[in-house]
Each structure stands twice: as structure tokens, then as C-alpha cells.
């Protein structure tokens, strides 16, 4: 288990990154989340980065990977709480976070996950097989 707790709220996994992560810890979190999505049958993953004062290419890649893996496992990932200075820097760095959905805060993130999951169900429900 990583030092970053993963909380399960109904069928959503919530992670709030409160520390300056070294690279191994970021990879550990990625592995933990992938395992937990399957074990907890999660439909959504919300990652709160409001405490992070930078997102560099490594953390960006971690967020991209988590989004991609959760998609394959039939869950949606939403990153919430990005600080404005971080957003400005990410764009200049050239990191586009393709495939990562974002919301301003946890509240809006929950609404987005609900909408995305409901949207899928409306379009035929949880994919079979």
C-alpha cells in the first residue's frame, strides 16, 4: 500500500494527494488505484490535487496513465482542484493531459462522474464482457 490513502465512497474512489510525491510513490499510487478499481468495482476515480504546488511531466504522466487504465477497467477518472499557477505552468510545459477529465473542485467532480457514468448507462449500460 502507498502512503496515500484511497477512500471508497459508494462506487467512487477518492484520492487526495497531500504530499510532495517522489516518483516511486506516484507509481505506487497508480498501481494501488488500478488494483482498487477492480477490487471495489469502482465506477469513478476522483483525484484531488489542490494541495500540489507543481505538476511536472512525471506526475502528469501518472494522471494520464490512471485515466487510461481506469477507462480500460470501465471507470471514469476526474482530476479536481488544480491550482491556477499549476494550470498555467502545465500548458507552457507542453503537457496536455489528453484523456484526463478535470473539474474545479470535489463537488463538481462528483457531479461530473455521475453524469459520465449515467451517460454511459443511458447509452446501453455497463458494457458486458
Amino acid at each position: 500500500m502507498s502512503e496515500i490513502p484511497v477512500l471508497k465512497i459508494r462506487d467512487i474512489l477518492l484520492v487526495s494527494i497531500q504530499i510532495d510525491m517522489h516518483d516511486r510513490l506516484a507509481l505506487q499510487l497508480q498501481d494501488d488505484l488500478t488494483t482498487r478499481i477492480v477490487r471495489d468495482r469502482a465506477r469513478g476515480v476522483m483525484i484531488d490535487i489542490s494541495a500540489l504546488d507543481i505538476v511536472d511531466s512525471f506526475i502528469g504522466r501518472m494522471l494520464n496513465n490512471i485515466a487510461a487504465m481506469s477507462r480500460v477497467l470501465d471507470a471514469v477518472t476526474v482530476v479536481v482542484g488544480m491550482r491556477p499557477a499549476v494550470a498555467i505552468t502545465l500548458v507552457e510545459l507542453g503537457l496536455t493531459l489528453t484523456g484526463v477529465r478535470t473539474a474545479l473542485n470535489v463537488d463538481k467532480g462528483l457531479a461530473l462522474i455521475d453524469a459520465l457514468v449515467d451517460g454511459e448507462e443511458g447509452a446501453g449500460g455497463r458494457r458486458a464482457g
Binding site: 516518483d23 504546488d53 511536472d56 511531466s57 502528469g60 498555467i88 505552468t89 507552457e92 510545459l93
Partner: protein, 134 residues
């Protein structure tokens, strides 16, 4: 130009990358940087520190807080004695990577800096210097 602070710290493992980020933040604050400027130089430092560890086999960073008349800045010099970069032009192309990254390290750090210089000698090592001014 006056050098107000001048320290060197090791950059050997991923824990050091975190320490470099924290040390650079302290210097950016000492130089009076805005939050956005702090974020930019810390992010650039993080990219280059990781390259020093992953590709250079570890090294060190010299951190200077500079004052030049009314402007102040932070200059970082990362030195390693690793294999060097055989093709600097290629290494500074967006998306090029020799490792597992996104290939944004060098190009991204350059965009986040006001001054950026890289000198690499195959077999001898790499020196990356970057500076940002307030």
C-alpha cells in the same frame, strides 16, 4: 550582478528530486517571485533534476539567487558525469524520449525558463543551466 545566495546540493535519487523542488521554492521566494514564476522554475527544476538522476546517473545542482539592479532571479546549474547526450538537437525535440517519459523534460524546462543552456560531452557528462528572472 550580485549573488545573494549560492549553495550546492546532491541530486542522486528520486528523494533528492523532491528536496531540489523544496530548495528551489525557498530560493524563488527569497528572490520575490510571484506564485506563477515560483511554480514555473520549480517545475523546470523538477524536470532537469529527474534527468540528472535517470540519465546522468546522479549529480548535483548549484542554486544561486541573483540581484541585477532592480531585477532578481534564480539560476540553477545541474551537473552530472553520466554518459552525456549524443544528439542534443534531437534531445531537445518535443516528444523525443530515450526513457519512459513523455519527452517533455528538456523542451518543457526550456520553455519555463528565461535563460537555458545545455552543454553535453558524450562520455563525460552534462551541464544544464537555467535561470528565471522576476
Amino acid at each position: 550582478m550580485v549573488v545573494e545566495q549560492d549553495d550546492t546540493m546532491p541530486v542522486r535519487g528520486s528523494d533528492d528530486v523532491v528536496r531540489v523542488r523544496q530548495a528551489v521554492r525557498a530560493r524563488a521566494i527569497a528572490a520575490g517571485f510571484s506564485l506563477v514564476d515560483q511554480t514555473k522554475i520549480i517545475t523546470a527544476a523538477s524536470e532537469i533534476a529527474r534527468n540528472t538522476v535517470d540519465y546522468g546517473g546522479g549529480g548535483s545542482v548549484r542554486m544561486e539567487v541573483l540581484r541585477d539592479g532592480r531585477r532578481s532571479g534564480v539560476r540553477l546549474t545541474f551537473t552530472d558525469h553520466g554518459p552525456g547526450i549524443p544528439d542534443l538537437a534531437l534531445a531537445q525535440t518535443d516528444g523525443f524520449t530515450s526513457g519512459h517519459g513523455l519527452g517533455l523534460g528538456l523542451t518543457g524546462a526550456r520553455r519555463l525558463s528565461n535563460e537555458f543552456d545545455i552543454v553535453s560531452t558524450p562520455g563525460a557528462g552534462t551541464i544544464v543551466t537555467l535561470a528565471r528572472w522576476k
